[in-house]
């Protein structure tokens, strides 16, 4: 095989590999995107039965027919504190029912935080971390929007914004 042919084939192979890399990288979601894909989006929401920090029992099934935003948070997490006002707006405005799951935090600290910052919704304990595993939570804050039919329709990371969540809800109404 002549050297010019070898060079042409080698250059073609390298060119194809570089082109594929560019295509793959260009089609990935930017890191700033807050609405992210997740394996559980499009599937039925994992069952959510747990004890709330006020001692009451909670079951997600009782919310059938309404939008529910399941929010994983901790008071020591700065983005969680920053998104809290938006959660209050969503819940009090009636756009979605907020349900929070405490992530590695004490119920007493959470109660004190809610008393100070507002927020009158179920806040669930997850001492074993099983709820966190069922929803595939990696880093808080993470929130999962569940449609009235019980399907997870969106995952939000690095804090929710009320207008972003409302936009998604409007698309599914």
């Amino acid at each position: 095989m002549r050297r010019s042919h070898v060079a042409l084939i080698s250059a073609s192979v390298v060119g194809v590999v570089v082109a594929l890399l560019v295509v793959v990288l260009a089609t990935r979601d930017p890191a700033t995107e807050k609405v992210r894909d997740s394996p559980i989006v499009g599937k039925t929401a994992p069952a959510l039965r747990a004890k709330a920090i006020d001692g009451s029992a909670f079951d997600l099934e009782t919310y059938g027919g309404e939008f529910v935003l399941v929010n994983f948070f901790a008071t020591w997490c700065v983005p969680c504190r920053q998104e809290h006002a938006d959660l209050v707006e969503l819940d009090e405005g009636g756009a979605a029912n907020v349900v929070s799951v405490v992530y590695q935090d004490s119920p007493e600290t959470v109660q004190a935080f809610l008393a100070e910052q507002g927020g009158d919704w179920p806040v669930l304990e997850d001492p074993s971390g099983q709820i966190t595993l069922d929803y595939g939570v990696s880093k808080i804050p993470e929130s999962y929007l569940i449609a009235p039919g019980g399907t997870v329709v969106a995952k939000f990371v690095r804090g929710v914004r009320a207008d972003t969540v409302t936009d998604v809800i409007d698309r599914f109404r």
Binding site: P39, G129, Q130, T132, L133, Y135, S138, K139
Partner: protein, 161 residues
């Protein structure tokens, strides 16, 4: 045509036996495992969701502990290692698995190196065959004339150098 003598094949046969023997020894199971061993073996193939660069087996984070407990519970319920790994891939995504799946596009990770090795071996074999077939320098008419002159006058100038 050259005839390959048996003695030249011996090193290749020995090499083949060593490679096959190493593969057999390396892939042999160490016998029955305890449940803790199985938990650790599965946990070693799953990335800790909240840590960077650590497996669930080596992390002391809360998520890692929760996953180890969950793996033990799932083994207790009779689930296989693949079913457990599929469950976590279905919750967190395939990127949580430290050893890629053997199916779908992830299987390319296993297939491509083998394909590359086979192509490289075939290329090397072809090159060796070509080199052995006398692909070296060819004698020109001038070279032949020089050789003929040297043969015709074996005791001439230059002999004995």
């Amino acid at each position: 045509m050259t005839v390959r003598t048996p003695s030249r094949r011996v090193p290749w046969l020995v090499l083949g036996f060593v490679v096959v023997g190493a593969l057999i020894v390396g892939s042999r199971s160490d016998g029955p495992q305890t449940r803790e061993d199985r938990v650790q073996a599965i946990a070693a193939t799953i990335k800790c969701p909240e840590c960077s660069g650590q497996s669930v087996a080596s992390s002391s984070g809360r998520s890692a502990k929760a996953i180890r407990t969950d793996i033990a519970a799932r083994l207790e319920r009779g689930q296989s290692a693949d079913q457990i790994r599929d469950y976590y891939a279905g919750r967190f995504g395939e990127e949580l698995l430290l050893t890629p799946s053997g199916s779908g596009t992830a299987s390319l990770v296993w297939i491509l190196p083998v394909v590359v090795i086979v192509i490289a071996a075939a290329g090397l074999a072809a090159a060796f065959v070509r080199w052995r077939g006398g692909g070296g320098a060819r004698a020109s008419d001038e070279d032949r004339a020089l050789v003929a002159a040297a043969l015709a006058d074996p005791h001439g100038e230059g002999a004995g150098r």
